[in-house]
Symmetry: C2
Subunit: 214 residues, 2 copies
C-alpha cells in the first residue's frame, strides 16, 4: 500500500481494536482522532478498507438484523445493509506489529499524530523512540528556520519575516512540548523499570492554555 495510506491502515486497524464499526462511523472517529477538522475522504477510506479486506486483516459482517427486528418481509432484493468491519486475528497481529516497531518514519507530520494516539497500546520503549525521533525532526526544522531567517536578514521584507518568526516560535513550542512528554515518560520508566507491558504514564494535566487574556 502506498506512501501515505499506511498511516490510514494503522488508524483503521487501531480504531477497530475496540469493536467493529461501519465506514461512516469509522470516518467520523478518524477525523476526531486527528483533530476535528481536516476531513478524510471516502474516496480514500473505502479503497483502504478494500485493501485491508484483501490482505485479510479485517472482514465484513452484516449488521442489518442481528439484535431485534427479524427480517420483516422479503430477505431478497435490494435492502442495502450496513457493513460492519471487524478485525481478524491477523489484523490484531498486524496492528501490534505496526505499533511495536514503527516504519522508517513514524515521526513525520502526518504519521506522528496517529502513532501518538495509540500510545496507550504501545510499549514504553517505542513510545520514547517515537517521541525522540519526532523531536529531532522538529529540531532540524527549527534549525532550517534559523538559517533561513539569518540568510534573509538584509533582503528582509517585514511580513515575510514576521511569518517566519511566527513559524519558528511554533516549532519551538512544539519541541518544548515533546521535551516535557519525554521527561514524563522517562521519569515513569525510572520508578517502574523496563517491565514488559506496563501502564502508560499520564503526561500531567498541565495548567491549560492560560485562558483569560485579550
Amino acid at each position: 500500500m502506498g506512501r501515505r495510506s499506511d498511516v490510514l491502515e494503522l488508524a483503521v486497524l487501531g480504531l477497530l481494536q475496540e469493536s467493529g464499526l461501519h465506514g461512516y462511523e469509522l470516518r467520523k472517529r478518524l477525523n476526531a482522532l486527528l483533530g476535528p477538522f481536516r476531513a478524510l475522504s471516502y474516496g480514500t477510506l473505502y479503497p483502504c478498507l478494500k485493501s485491508l479486506l484483501a490482505a485479510g486483516w479485517i472482514h465484513e459482517a452484516g449488521a442489518g438484523n442481528e439484535a431485534g427486528t427479524a427480517t420483516p418481509a422479503s430477505p431478497l432484493a435490494g435492502r442495502r445493509a450496513k457493513i460492519v468491519y471487524e478485525l481478524t486475528a491477523e489484523g490484531k497481529e498486524r496492528f501490534q506489529s505496526l505499533v511495536s516497531h514503527p516504519g522508517p518514519a513514524a515521526w513525520e507530520d502526518e504519521r506522528f499524530d496517529v502513532h501518538f494516539a495509540f500510545f496507550a497500546r504501545t510499549d514504553a520503549g517505542t513510545r520514547l523512540q517515537i517521541l525522540e525521533g519526532r523531536r529531532s525532526r522538529l529540531e532540524e526544522r527549527r534549525e532550517g528556520y534559523r538559517q533561513s531567517m539569518h540568510r534573509s536578514r538584509e533582503r528582509a521584507e517585514q511580513y515575510t519575516l514576521e511569518l517566519q518568526r511566527h513559524g519558528l516560535e511554533s516549532v519551538d513550542r512544539e519541541v518544548r512540548w515533546l521535551s516535557e512528554l519525554i521527561d514524563t515518560e522517562r521519569a515513569s520508566n525510572m520508578t517502574h523499570p523496563p517491565h514488559d507491558g506496563d501502564r502508560p504514564p499520564l503526561p500531567a494535566p498541565a495548567p491549560g492554555p492560560d485562558h483569560e487574556s485579550r
Copy 2:
C-alpha cells in the same frame, strides 16, 4: 487551474515581480517563502509554469549567453539553455487582481501563508479582511476542538486527550497572534487613515520565543 495550484499561481506571480527567475531558483524561493521545509515538487511547478505560459501571464527568455561568453562553437544541437521566466504586463495585472480581491477562501491553511507573504503589496483594507477571515476560521476550529474534547470526556483516553489539548492550545496561540496583528493594522489605519496605497505597518518586533528554558 485546479483547486490548490491557484495558490501556486499567486506565489509564482508574486516572486517574479522582483525579477525574472528560472525554475530551479523559483522552487528554492517558493520553499523558503512558506517555511524552509515542506518542499514543493517540480511535478507541480513545471505544469504550473506551463499553464501560466499558456495564459499569457509569463513568458520565457533564454539566458545562456547574454552577458559575456559568445556562443563558443556550434549554436546548433543539444546545448540545453537556462530558461528564465518573466512577467508580462498581463501577468502584473493578474497578480494585482489576485492580491486585491482574494478568492473565495484566502484564509484556508495553504493559501493564507502565501497571501500573508505578499501583504507588502496588498492594500490595508484587504490585509485586514484576510487576517479577520483567518481568525474566524481558526476560531471555528478552536470551537471544534472544545466540542470534541467535551464529547470525549468520559470515553477519555490519556494520550488522545493530550493530543487534543495540545492541538487546542496551538490553535489558541494562533488566534492570539492574529489578534495582535489585527490590532497593529487597525492602529496604523487610525494614525494614517484610508488613503490608497499606504505603507504597511510593521507588526512590532515581539520579545522572541523566550529562549533560555530547559
